[in-house]
């Protein structure tokens, strides 16, 4: 199952750093993730980017067994 990582405010919203979530495409995994964690994460999603194995990817992208999906809220490095 692909793993989903949460950073910054997304980690606060889910209370976890990572989980495993099923889905055939990136869009399906993200939808299931939002469903599982509820409203606080849903509110963050419009400003989050989704990366697949370290690169931005579109919702249609198929996901494989060991893929790593990351939910990235607006960044504040520097």
């Amino acid at each position: 199952m692909p793993s989903v990582l949460f950073f910054g405010p997304a980690r606060d919203a889910t209370g976890t750093r990572a989980t495993l979530i099923e889905g055939r495409t990136l869009g399906e995994v993200v939808a299931s993730t939002v469903e599982r964690y509820g409203e606080e994460l849903a509110r963050l999603m419009p400003t989050c980017r989704v990366w697949l194995n370290g690169e931005p990817a579109t919702p249609e992208t198929p996901v494989k067994e060991n893929d790593e999906i990351a939910l990235l809220p607006p960044v504040s490095g520097g």
Binding site: F7, G8, P9, G54, P56, L72, V75, S76, G77, G78
Partner: protein, 156 residues
């Protein structure tokens, strides 16, 4: 990443003096060094005690290397170039990020360093948590990461 790039994510203090000595090149007459340092105040958050940086660690150095590649494409005259960021706790007055560049002449040393820090803040997966008197929360003025098409790739 060539031997003329110093790209690093570190949980220790940023070795400014070492980088400042390293960045100098005999063909370059200008060095600019920018440090972002932890401030005691952030907008109306007063009495900030420390910052805590969290990163999507495996992809920080790759993203900073992309920035270095892009910077060298825009300013081919750059000699050496350093992009170093901290992760973990940073107390007030310490540097959380350092950008340094050597160039033959001075205007482009400022230009390349400024472009690198602006781009780093907008594109590298790092989050700042501020711990202040009576509160703790993520950094203000966070920037939404670029969409796929906006991400500067090494081929452009």
């Amino acid at each position: 990443m060539g031997h003329d790039d110093w790209i690093e994510l570190t949980s220790g203090e940023i070795p400014l003096a070492e980088i400042a000595a390293w960045v100098v090149r005999p063909g370059c007459g200008a060095v600019d060094i920018f440090c972002g340092t932890a401030r005691e105040q952030s907008d109306d958050r007063k009495g900030v005690e420390r910052l805590e940086y969290e990163a999507y660690e495996p992809f920080v150095v790759p993203k900073m290397s992309e920035i270095a590649t892009q910077a060298r494409r825009r300013w081919p005259q750059v000699g050496r170039l350093a992009l170093v960021h901290r992760v973990g706790p940073v107390v007030i007055g310490e540097a959380s990020v350092l950008i340094a560049a050597s160039t033959p002449h001075r205007p482009e040393s400022f230009d390349v360093v400024r472009w690198c820090i602006d781009t780093l803040k907008a594109t590298v997966p790092i989050w700042k948590r501020e711990i202040w008197e009576g509160g703790a929360d993520w950094g203000l003025h966070a920037q939404v990461l670029p969409e796929v098409a906006e991400v500067p790739g090494p081929d452009r």
